[in-house]
C-alpha cells in the first residue's frame, strides 16, 4: 500500500483574520462539535450530558428542545467519539458534526451592531446574556450563535456556507474598522 500523507483542510483555512478597532473576525483551529440528541421533553438530559462530557473541555449549547451542541477546542479521535457515544446511549445519541460545522469568532465593541445587520435576535446584553445561544438566520444563512463574552460571539455555520458567511461578515464589519 502506498504511503499517503493525509492533511486536514478545514473550511476558511485560507482566510486571514480581520482585525480593527470595532470588529475582529477569526476562525479557531478545528476542534470538536458533537450534536447531542435526546428525546424532546427529557428534562434531565442536559445534566446527564454535562456529567458525561467533561465541562472543562466541552461547552454545552442549546440548539432545540432535546438537542445541544457540545463544543471543544481540541479535535476528538473517532475512538474517543465512540467511547462518548457508548457512555451516553441510549438516553442521548451523539452525532459528530466536527467537520460539518465551522466556527467563526466575532468580537469587538461594535459586534452587536454588526450582527444586527444579520439577525433579528435582540443581542442587548440584558436580553442575550453571556452564555446564551440560539439558532437564527444571519443574513440568508442559518447559523448557531453563542455569546461567549460581553462583546464576543461564536458562530457555528454549516461548512458549505462558511465561506459565504465569512465574506458576509467581512462586508458587515467594514464600516466599523
Amino acid at each position: 500500500m502506498p504511503e499517503f500523507q493525509i492533511s486536514r483542510r478545514p473550511a476558511l483555512s485560507d482566510k486571514q483574520p480581520v482585525t480593527g478597532p470595532g470588529i475582529e473576525i477569526s476562525t479557531p483551529p478545528p476542534g470538536a462539535i458533537l450534536h447531542a440528541l435526546a428525546q424532546p421533553g427529557d428534562a434531565g438530559a442536559r445534566g446527564f450530558i454535562e456529567s458525561a462530557l467533561m465541562s472543562d473541555i466541552f461547552s454545552i449549547r442549546p440548539v432545540s428542545p432535546g438537542q445541544w451542541f457540545s463544543v471543544a477546542d481540541d479535535p476528538l479521535s473517532h475512538a474517543d467519539f465512540r467511547n462518548l457515544c457508548e457512555a451516553l446511549e441510549p438516553r442521548v445519541d451523539l452525532v459528530d458534526q466536527s467537520h460539518g460545522r465551522t466556527r467563526i469568532i466575532v468580537q469587538g465593541p461594535q459586534v452587536e451592531a454588526m450582527l444586527a445587520k444579520g439577525t433579528a435576535i435582540d443581542l442587548h446584553i440584558d436580553q442575550f446574556t453571556v452564555g446564551s445561544a440560539a439558532s437564527t438566520l444571519i443574513g440568508h444563512v442559518s447559523a448557531h450563535l453563542t455569546r461567549t463574552g460581553e462583546h464576543c460571539f461564536e458562530i457555528l455555520v454549516l461548512r458549505s456556507f462558511a465561506e459565504n458567511m465569512w465574506d458576509d461578515l467581512v462586508r458587515m464589519s467594514r464600516e466599523f474598522n
Partner: protein
C-alpha cells in the same frame, strides 16, 4: 428676483458657504440649507414643471410632503431622480437639475398640454381609450408619454453600499419635534430602551421654525439641549435623517436612514442608506400635522407657499419669501408667520382670514387683516404677481410676490393606518384622526390633534409615561416649559369650496388634479372616494396625496352634500414616502445576491480543471475539460466512457445526508418510505422511495443501517432541505410518540462516488478493511478505516452508473486529501474525475430516474416502481391516496426509453412524443422527453420519456416533436435501460 437671504438669523452656518449648481447655473448657499432654501435664497422661484399640464411650479413646502420641487441630483450611477429639494441637504458641489421639461425649464414645449387641457380632464385616459385604437397608439400615447413623466433613472450601476439591520427597543418615538422630544426624554430618563427617529438632519421638528421661548431657552436651543441629553444616554438612540416609512405586523417598523445622502463624496466603508427594521414593544407617533393648502385659482403659481413652510425658511434658513407678502389663512397659523415676518422687517400686505372675527389675542402686529375674506385667484405666469381678494362680494387686487396659505392641519397619521385601521373624521378637529386603541401604538401632540407647544410637550410626557407604565417602567413627571410667545393654531372651520374662482384651482399639485376634475368625477358618478381617486388620479402621485387627499375629500363631501366622515378615505399603505431600491435590496446584489454553497471537494475539483454549474445554491463540478478537447461534449463523452472502462471519481457531497437514531428509528423509516425497511439488516443499504401524502413521489435515495438504531439516509441534492423538514414534520407532528432523532449531516461528510470496473482495486489501496466482493457485497454499508487508521469513513456499495461502484464518505476536512489519494492510487488504473454531466449520461443509460422524472406528477407505478410500494404495510406516507382509480389507469404517463431511428439525429429534453403518423398538434400529444443525452456507449442520442401507456409500447415508432425549435425526429420507444439490462456489471 423676489425671495432673498436675510442679513442675519436662522440656523444656518454663514461661515461655511457651499457652492452648488441648478440646471448648470452656479449658486451659493450655506451649511444648514436645504436645496430648496438655497434656491429660494438665490431668488430661484421656478423649480419644476407639473406632470400633466407642464405648469411652472415653485417650492410649496419645507418637508417630505413636497409635490412640486422634485429634482434630479448627482450624475452617473449616483443619479437620483425625484429627489425632494425640500429634503435634500445642501453640500459642496451638489448638482441638481429640474425635471419634466424640454428643452428647458423656462421654455417648455410640454406646456402646450395646458392649452389642450379641456381634453385632459378627469377620466381622460379612460375616455380616450374609446377612440379608434390606432389613433391612440400611434398618435396620442407616444406624445403624452414623452411629455409626461418624472425624472429618469440612470442605467449605470450604483457604486454605493446599502445596509439593512434590526433594532429593538421598549419605546420607539417617531418624530423629534416638541412632542417627540418630550416623550423621548421622559422614557430615556426612566431607563427604558428608546429609539427616537426624525426625518430631518436635526432634531426639533417645528421647534426649529418657532420663535417662542421654552423655559429660558429659544425653542431651537431647547430642541438642541434635548437632543444633546438624549445622545448622552446609553439607553437612547437618536436617529436623524431617518424616515419611518411603515408599520408592520408584530410591531415592526420599517425605517430608512439616509446615512450619506447629504455629502458629496460618500465614505466608501459606510453605507449611503441603511434600512432599519425596528421591533418596538411600544411606539409613539409624534409625527405632527401637515398644513393643508387652500384650493383657489392659480394656487400653484411659483410664489404661493404653505404658511408653515414660509415660516421655516424665514426662521430656520434666514430666507425671506419675497418683498410683498400676503397671507391667506383659515386659522391662527397665519398670524405666527405674520409676527415673525414683521420681526424680520417684512410687514405683510394683508392677512386674508376666512373667519369673520377671529384675530388671535396673541397677535399684536401691524399687518392689515381682511376678515371674512378669501383669495379667489392668484395671478402670474412663472411667478406670482398679484392676488384677487374677495370680501363681501367685492374683489380687490393686491400686488404681491409671495403668498402664504394655511387651510388648517391634517395630523400625520399614515403609519397608524398601515395595518388596516381606518382614519376617523373629527368635526371638532376638522381633520381625520387615527383610529383609537391600537395595540403597540399611540399618538401624541399635533399628530393626535393637539394644538400649541405647551400642550404638545405635556402630551409627549404623559403619553410616554402611560406607554412605559404598560411595560413596567415608572416614569417621573417631567416639567417642560413654560412656553411663552406661542401662537397656537387650534382647529378652525375648514374652507373647502372657495367662491369666485376663475383660474384652475389645484387639489393635487403633483398629478395636476384641479377642482373641476373633482366636480366632473362626482357629476359622472365617480363620487365614491375610491372611484374619484382613480378617475381623477388625485393622491396617486409619488407624494401619495399628503397635501391633497383631505382637500379632495372635503370637496367631494361638499359636492355630494355630506360630511367628510361619509366620504371616508382611501387606504394608507406603506411606504409613507418613497424608499430607494438600493435600500430595499441592501447588500443583496452581485456576489451577495444569494449564498453560494461549496462542497468540501470544491478545491479538489478546481485543481482538476472542473467547470462548475449552479445546482440550487451549490456549485457542482459539471465536467473536467482537458487540453485539446473541443467542447464540453467531448469531455463528457470521455468521462462517461472511462467510468465504464476503468474508473471515475465524482463528487456527490451535495446529496442530502441525514443521521437517524432512536429506539424507533426503524419503525419511523418504514413509515416514511413506501417500500419495506423494517427488516433491513445492520451493514446494508437499500434504495427507498418517499411519497407525498397524495401518493405522488416526493424523493428517492438510499438508507443504510449502520447500527441497530443508527441509520444514514441520503436524499437527492435538490430535495435535501425539503426532506429534512418533512421528516421533522413526521417525527414531531405525526408520530411524536416514536423515539426518533434526526440530525442533518450533509456537511459533515465529503462523499465520493468511485465507479467503474477498477473501482475496488483503487479503493482497496486506501481502505484498511477488506472490501472484496465476498467481504463487501453489493449493497453493503459499513464504517471503514482509511490510510492505516488516519481517517474515519463510511463506505456504501451502491451504484448510480450501473457499474461496480462505491460511495465513500469521509470526514469533510479530509475530503480533499482523500480524493487526491484516490487519484494517485487510481492513476495506473486510469481513474479520471467525472462531473454531473457524465453522471447524468451514465444514469440515463441505465434508466435511473432523478427529479426530471420525479416531477411531482409521477406515482411509483409510472416509473416502474409499482411493486415497491408495500401493500403489506398498514401505513406509510402516501399509502392511502395511492389506490385511487386514476393512479393506476393504463394511459398514465409511464417511464420509457426513446431513441432516434437515425443514430446521428439529435433531440432534446422537453420535446413531445407523437404517434408516428399523427399531426403535430397538442391534441395528439403522447407525453414528453424528460431527460436526454448523447450516449457514447450506444453511439446515439438517447432519452427517457414519460409517455401515455409507455411501458406497453416498447418498440413502437413515434415522432419526437419540439415545436419551440421546429424539430421533428422520427424515433422509437424502448426499454429505459440502454446498457447492461441484466445488471451483470454491478456485482463484479
Amino acid at each position: 428676483m423676489t425671495a432673498f437671504r436675510l442679513p442675519h438669523g436662522g440656523l444656518i452656518d454663514r461661515s461655511r458657504p457651499l457652492s452648488f449648481s441648478f440646471d448648470g447655473k452656479s449658486m451659493t448657499g450655506f451649511a444648514g440649507d436645504t436645496l430648496a432654501s438655497a434656491l429660494l435664497a438665490n431668488g430661484r422661484i421656478l423649480v419644476g414643471r407639473s406632470f400633466k399640464y407642464h405648469r411652472p411650479r415653485g417650492i410649496l413646502t419645507a418637508g417630505s410632503a413636497e409635490p412640486n420641487a422634485l429634482v434630479t441630483v448627482n450624475t452617473g450611477g449616483r443619479t437620483e431622480p425625484n429627489t425632494l429639494a425640500t429634503m435634500q441637504e445642501l453640500h459642496e458641489g451638489l448638482r441638481a437639475a429640474s425635471q419634466n421639461r424640454w428643452p428647458s425649464l423656462a421654455f417648455d414645449i410640454g406646456a402646450l398640454n395646458g392649452l389642450l387641457s379641456p381634453f385632459l380632464g378627469a377620466g381622460f385616459y379612460y375616455k380616450t381609450f374609446m377612440w379608434p385604437a390606432a389613433f391612440w397608439e400611434k398618435l396620442y400615447e407616444p406624445l403624452i408619454r414623452r411629455a409626461a413623466g418624472l425624472g429618469r433613472a440612470s442605467h449605470d450601476a450604483d457604486p454605493d453600499d446599502y445596509e439593512k439591520c434590526w433594532a429593538h427597543c421598549d419605546l420607539l418615538v417617531i418624530g423629534a419635534g416638541a412632542t417627540g422630544l418630550a416623550a423621548a426624554l421622559t422614557a430615556g430618563r426612566a431607563g427604558a430602551r428608546v429609539i427616537v427617529v426624525d426625518e430631518h438632519p436635526v432634531a426639533g421638528g417645528g421647534l426649529l421654525s418657532e420663535t417662542a421661548i421654552i423655559g429660558t431657552q429659544a425653542a431651537a436651543d431647547f430642541a438642541a439641549s434635548c437632543a444633546t441629553e438624549l445622545q448622552s444616554m446609553p439607553n437612547v438612540r437618536l436617529l436623524t435623517r431617518t424616515t419611518v416609512f411603515a408599520w408592520y405586523d408584530g410591531n415592526v417598523f420599517g425605517a430608512v436612514e439616509r446615512v450619506q445622502k447629504h455629502v458629496g463624496f460618500p465614505a466608501p466603508n459606510l453605507p449611503v442608506e441603511r434600512l432599519w427594521r425596528i421591533a418596538a414593544k411600544q411606539a409613539l407617533l409624534a409625527t405632527g400635522a401637515e398644513e393643508r393648502p387652500l384650493v383657489f385659482g392659480g394656487n400653484d403659481i411659483p410664489g404661493v407657499m404653505m404658511a408653515g413652510a414660509m415660516r421655516r425658511y424665514l426662521n430656520c434658513h434666514g430666507v425671506a419669501p419675497g418683498h410683498r407678502v400676503a397671507i391667506f389663512t383659515t386659522n391662527d397659523s397665519g398670524y405666527g408667520l405674520a409676527r415673525d415676518l414683521e420681526a424680520a422687517g417684512i410687514v405683510p400686505q394683508a392677512i386674508i382670514d376666512s373667519r369673520r372675527d377671529a384675530i388671535p389675542d396673541s397677535y399684536s402686529g401691524s399687518a392689515r387683516v381682511v376678515s371674512g375674506a378669501v383669495v379667489s385667484d392668484a395671478c402670474g405666469r412663472k411667478s406670482l404677481s398679484s392676488i384677487s381678494v374677495l370680501q363681501n362680494g367685492k374683489s380687490e387686487e393686491l400686488k404681491v410676490d409671495a403668498l402664504a396659505m394655511s387651510g388648517g392641519f391634517s395630523p400625520v397619521i399614515h403609519l397608524a393606518c398601515h395595518r388596516g385601521g381606518k382614519p376617523q373624521w373629527s368635526d371638532e378637529h376638522a381633520a381625520f384622526l387615527a383610529p383609537s386603541s391600537q395595540k403597540g401604538l399611540a399618538l401624541a401632540g399635533a399628530a393626535d390633534g393637539t394644538a400649541g407647544l405647551q400642550a404638545c410637550l405635556e402630551a409627549g410626557v404623559s403619553k410616554a409615561a402611560a406607554l412605559l407604565g404598560s411595560l413596567g417602567f415608572t416614569a417621573k413627571p417631567q416639567a417642560l416649559g413654560p412656553v411663552e410667545g406661542d401662537i397656537a393654531a387650534g382647529p378652525a372651520k375648514p374652507l373647502w369650496t372657495i367662491p369666485g374662482i376663475r383660474e384652475k384651482a389645484f387639489v393635487d399639485f403633483q398629478n395636476d388634479v384641479h377642482r373641476k376634475d373633482i366636480t366632473l368625477a362626482t357629476r359622472e358618478g365617480y363620487g365614491h372616494v375610491e372611484l374619484a381617486k382613480r378617475y381623477t388620479t388625485t393622491g396617486m402621485a409619488t407624494d401619495q396625496g399628503k397635501l391633497s387627499n383631505v382637500n379632495a375629500i372635503g370637496l367631494l363631501a361638499e359636492e355630494r352634500g355630506v360630511s367628510p366622515a361619509d366620504v371616508g378615505t382611501t387606504t394608507f399603505r406603506p411606504f409613507y414616502s418613497p424608499v430607494s431600491f438600493g435600500a430595499l435590496a441592501g447588500a443583496t446584489h452581485g456576489k451577495h445576491f444569494m449564498p453560494a454553497r461549496m462542497s468540501p471537494l470544491h478545491e479538489w475539483a478546481k485543481k482538476n480543471g472542473a467547470e462548475f454549474v449552479e445546482a440550487g445554491l451549490w456549485y457542482r463540478s459539471a465536467w473536467f475539460a482537458r487540453d485539446g478537447e473541443s467542447g464540453w461534449r467531448e469531455s463528457v463523452d470521455r468521462e462517461a466512457l472511462n467510468v465504464r472502462k476503468n474508473a471515475g471519481l465524482c463528487d456527490v457531497s451535495t446529496l442530502g445526508k441525514i443521521e437517524i437514531t432512536g429506539a424507533d428509528a426503524a419503525e419511523f423509516i418504514n413509515r416514511v418510505y413506501c417500500n419495506a425497511f423494517l427488516k433491513l439488516p445492520v451493514g446494508k443499504a437499500r434504495y427507498g422511495l418517499m411519497l407525498r401524502e397524495d401518493g405522488f413521489i416526493f424523493d428517492d435515495g438510499t438508507t443504510s443501517r449502520l447500527e441497530e438504531n443508527r441509520y444514514f439516509m441520503t436524499t437527492t441534492t435538490a430535495a435535501a432541505i425539503a426532506t429534512m423538514n418533512h421528516l421533522e414534520f413526521c417525527a414531531q407532528v405525526l408520530w411524536p410518540g416514536l423515539d426518533v432523532r434526526l440530525a442533518s449531516v450533509t456537511d459533515q461528510w465529503a462523499q465520493m462516488a468511485v465507479a467503474g470496473p477498477k473501482s475496488r482495486a483503487i479503493l482497496q489501496q486506501i481502505i484498511d478493511d477488506d472490501i472484496s466482493n465476498d467481504a463487501f457485497p453489493y449493497l453493503a454499508a459499513r464504517d471503514v478505516s482509511l490510510f492505516g487508521g488516519q481517517v474515519h469513513g463510511r463506505l456504501f456499495r451502491i451504484s448510480f452508473s450501473g457499474e461496480l461502484a462505491f460511495e465513500l464518505a469521509v470526514l469533510a476536512d479530509f475530503g480533499e486529501a482523500t480524493a487526491d489519494a484516490l487519484m494517485q492510487a487510481g492513476d495506473t488504473h486510469g481513474i479520471q474525475p467525472y462531473g454531473v454531466e457524465a453522471l447524468s449520461v451514465l444514469r440515463i443509460e441505465k434508466g435511473h430516474v432523478t427529479h426530471s422524472e420525479i416531477n411531482g406528477t409521477a406515482v411509483p407505478a409510472d416509473l416502474g416502481f409499482g411493486r415497491m410500494a408495500s401493500s403489506a404495510k398498514a401505513d406509510f406516507i402516501g399509502k392511502h391516496m395511492l389506490s385511487r382509480d386514476g393512479l393506476s389507469a393504463r394511459d398514465r404517463l409511464q417511464l420509457v426509453g426513446v431513441m432516434p431511428l437515425d443514430t446521428t439525429a439529435y433531440f432534446r429534453s422537453g420535446a413531445h412524443i407523437l404517434a408516428k403518423d399523427a399531426d403535430a398538434t397538442l391534441e395528439n400529444d403522447q407525453g414528453h422527453v424528460t431527460s436526454s443525452c448523447y450516449s457514447p456507449h450506444t453511439g446515439s442520442h438517447i432519452g427517457l420519456a414519460l409517455v401515455k401507456g409507455g411501458s406497453a409500447r416498447h418498440g413502437e415508432e413515434i415522432l419526437i416533436w419540439n415545436a419551440l425549435h421546429g424539430e421533428y425526429v422520427p424515433g422509437r420507444l424502448c426499454d429505459p435501460v440502454f446498457v447492461d439490462p441484466a445488471n451483470s456489471r454491478l456485482s463484479m
